[in-house]
């Protein structure tokens, strides 16, 4: 590989999706004389090809990093350079970024390809693919910057693209409302990000990660603590944790590939990425870490229960995503950063697969998303069914499938790490049980049993099933990147936890400790819970759609009434304040202000006209008076 290509690799990985965005967003619609005339095949082809090229470059970066521990650093330009304030755009491809880049471009390519089939009935799909490419650009900027400020640009960029894509079908008001909700809730978290950046800059005088890591001075602990809390708050917004998870389920209003790419595989993991990146700061605050772990555990539980009663196939998966992200935060909280990233990766595989499978089902059922109307689709959508089975096995954590390795590792680390413990472990275990229940419920309602409304005419085309198959393979074997140390140890082999070995130069591995249970027992427990959950779920939902516990069902169906509480606490008062301003301030003040300015000048003009009477001697008099006044002032000045 020649040196120039290697040295500018991060830039090209980043720029290719942007190029695709410009092609699809500007050049192609101009050439086709209107966005509405763009053809899905051409637009999707452009978008997929640029993503695939970007993926190849990402693979080259991966290969380059295999031979060296050091990151590929590419300074681009100094954006701000005012004495001490120096902010440079520096791209930084280290092993963590490389892993994220592979996920974004790899899964991104598959989802772009899939979208060609999924959006085939759309007019003007170039807009869709332009947004998708723009999203990938922003997400890559997020993971490739070495600087919090540019991470923030990416952070906002993905938020914007999320907004644009959720409301892709903007002519329906519900979609626009969902997009607005997602955007606003994210803004609440972003405020934390901005404030945290200000505090960090004031304390360390820099925003680049490597420099920040050396500025974690103990004397500034108080301020740093606030920054850490704010940054965690920002992460809860983007990664849909309590208390800011409410936007993600509504975000399912967007097209399904969007849900797979943005709201399962990549954007929502930005918070976990940021946390892993800034682990040196969070580590200083054990109390905050406990809070993080509990936030994750409770979110995992909470979202898992709500997922039990959802009837929209995508909403089940949405709550499932929230729940799995909770698992990741649980791992981060106990200090097992590598484990969190491991689960991030496997989750990207199997959740993207599940979403795309759900999209295939929806496509086959002509847009129907209500699982109660489906049933018996296994025979009509055989390939989708099999791949969904692989994804479900992975998320439940059946042995050999990827989720088995990552989820067990999380549960094990929660048990053995000092900040973990039995309570957190119990939360995680129950959440794992719930995962099995809602996943099997989804399968039962959708694929098995009797066809209820005769939905589902056709299997999806090749461009949609190919990504499904690839992702199914990844979801099945992806876990072998993280074979538990206990296994290889028991077999007397070298450690085969290749992900841990890969990440260790960037993120330290969690300490290997002896816990109350061995890793094998934890694995067995987790699998037993998964299987038990699956069986319970199968027996329960074989004959009915809803939870046979009416009290709990109402609570879960109301989603613990969080939306209502937020509505009463924040949304309604804000609406009311807005209405008051519209009525009183806007009408009374803002709209009249211009008029007041005008009439004020007119009035004063009328008065001033009297001076301008045309009498030469009046002017001379004023002139003289002015002269006398100036001389007087000067005299007084000289004598004071």
């Amino acid at each position: 590989m020649s040196e120039p290509i290697l040295s500018s690799l991060p830039l090209w990985i980043l720029l290719l999706p942007l190029f695709g965005f410009l092609l699809n967003g500007l050049a192609y619609p101009l050439a086709a004389k209107g966005m509405g005339r763009t053809h899905v095949g051409i637009a999707g082809g452009i978008a997929t090809v640029v993503m695939f090229l970007s993926f190849i470059l990402a693979c080259m970066g991966f290969v380059a990093l295999r031979s060296s521990n050091g990151p590929l650093v590419q300074p681009l330009y100094d954006w701000v350079a005012i004495s001490d304030l120096k902010i440079s755009l520096v791209l930084h491809l280290d092993r963590l970024s490389s892993l994220m880049t592979l996920i974004i471009t790899g899964i991104g390519t598959l989802i772009h390809l899939y979208s060609i089939g999924y959006m085939s009935h759309e007019k003007g799909a170039a807009r869709f693919f332009a947004y998708l490419n723009l999203f990938c650009f922003a997400m890559l900027l997020l993971v490739l910057s070495d600087n919090l400020l540019f991470v923030f640009f990416g952070w906002e960029g993905v938020g914007l693209c999320s907004y644009l894509l959720i409301s892709y079908w903007y002519s329906e008001e519900a979609n626009a409302v969902a997009a607005r909700k997602a955007f606003l809730v994210n803004r609440v978290g972003d405020l934390g990000f901005v404030l945290a950046m200000c505090i960090l800059y004031l304390n360390a005088g820099t925003l680049s990660f490597s420099a920040l890591a050396q500025h974690m001075a103990p004397e500034a602990m108080g301020m740093l603590g606030i920054a850490a809390v704010l940054l965690f708050f920002a992460a809860t917004g983007k990664s849909a944790q309590l208390p800011l998870y409410v936007w993600l389920p509504d975000a399912m209003a967007g097209p399904t590939p969007v849900s797979a790419l943005i709201h399962a595989a990549t954007m929502v993991t930005a918070g976990i990425y940021l946390f892993a990146r800034m682990h040196f700061m969070f580590e200083l605050f054990p109390n905050l870490m406990v809070l993080v772990a509990w936030t994750g555990a409770l979110t995992a539980l909470f979202a898992g229960t709500i997922a039990l009663v959802q009837n929209d196939i995508k909403r089940v998966l949405a709550y499932s995503t929230v729940s799995q992200l909770g698992f990741m935060f649980l791992a981060l909280g106990v200090g097992a950063y590598q484990t969190a990233v491991f689960h991030l990766m496997t989750h990207a595989f199997f959740k993207a697969l599940l979403f795309l499978g759900a999209g295939s089902v929806i496509h086959g059922c002509d847009g129907e998303q209500d699982m109660r109307k489906m049933g018996g689709l296994a025979s009509k959508l055989p390939l989708t069914h099999i791949t969904m089975l692989a994804g479900s096995a992975a998320i439940i954590g059946l042995p050999v499938f990827s989720g088995f390795f990552s989820k067990d590792e999380i549960l094990y680390e929660v048990l053995v790490q000092p900040r973990g413990g039995w309570l957190l472990f119990a939360c995680g275990a129950v959440a794992a049980f719930l995962t099995a229940v809602y996943t099997v419920r989804l399968l039962v309602l959708t694929f098995w049993g009797q066809a209820r409304q005769g939905l589902g005419g056709h299997e999806s085309p090749f461009v949609m099933t190919l990504p499904l198959v690839i992702l199914a393979v990844l979801a099945t074997v992806g876990g072998f990147l993280g074979v538990p140390h206990a296994w290889t140890h028991a077999l007397g082999l070298e450690s085969m936890h290749s992900l841990s070995a890969w990440l260790s130069p960037v993120i330290p591995a969690a300490a290997m400790l002896e816990g109350p249970l061995s890793e094998g027992v934890v694995s067995f427990l987790a699998v037993a819970l998964g299987v038990a959950g699956s069986i319970v779920s199968y027996l329960t939902f074989r004959r009915r759609f809803d939870l046979p516990l009416p009290g709990l069902r109402r609570l879960f169906e109301g989603k613990f009434f969080v939306d209502e509480i937020y509505g009463a606490l924040f949304v309604k008062p804000l609406y009311r304040a807005g209405e008051w301003m519209a009525r009183v301030l806007e009408v009374g003040f803002v709209q009249n202000f211009g008029g007041w300015l005008g009439s004020g000048s007119l009035w004063s003009g009328q008065r001033m006209r009297a001076l301008q009477n045309g009498d030469l001697q009046a002017f001379a008099l004023v002139l003289t008076a002015g002269l006398v006044a100036i001389i007087g002032i000067l005299l007084v000045w000289a004598h004071v």
Partner: protein, 100 residues
């Protein structure tokens, strides 16, 4: 009182008379005469200072002032001829049409 001080006082008196003429008289020719009076008051002041400080530059300045005053009168009077042609009068209170 010294001669110099007396001359300064005379100069200030003449200047004020010229200023009052300019401000109070409506007849433009008389106003021009007021301006001449002020300029000559200044000349007197210049000469007095030149004498007191034993410097020739004050006296030189007077020649400039006289020259400029002559030019000013010529321009001013020719404007007045035109004003009289247009307004039929040279009283300032009757020539306010231009509003400045």
């Amino acid at each position: 009182m010294e001669t110099g001080t007396l001359l300064h006082l005379l100069s200030a008196y003449l200047f004020c008379m010229g200023l009052l003429t300019l401000l109070l008289r409506r007849n433009t020719i008389v106003m021009l005469m007021g301006i001449e009076l002020m300029l000559n008051a200044i000349n007197l002041s210049f000469v007095t200072f030149a004498h007191e400080l034993q410097q020739v530059s004050g006296q030189l300045q007077v020649f400039f002032v006289i020259t400029i005053a002559a030019a000013e009168s010529a321009v001013g009077l020719s404007i007045l001829v035109n004003v009289y042609r247009n307004f039929g009068s040279i009283k300032t209170n009757l020539t306010t049409r231009m509003r400045g």
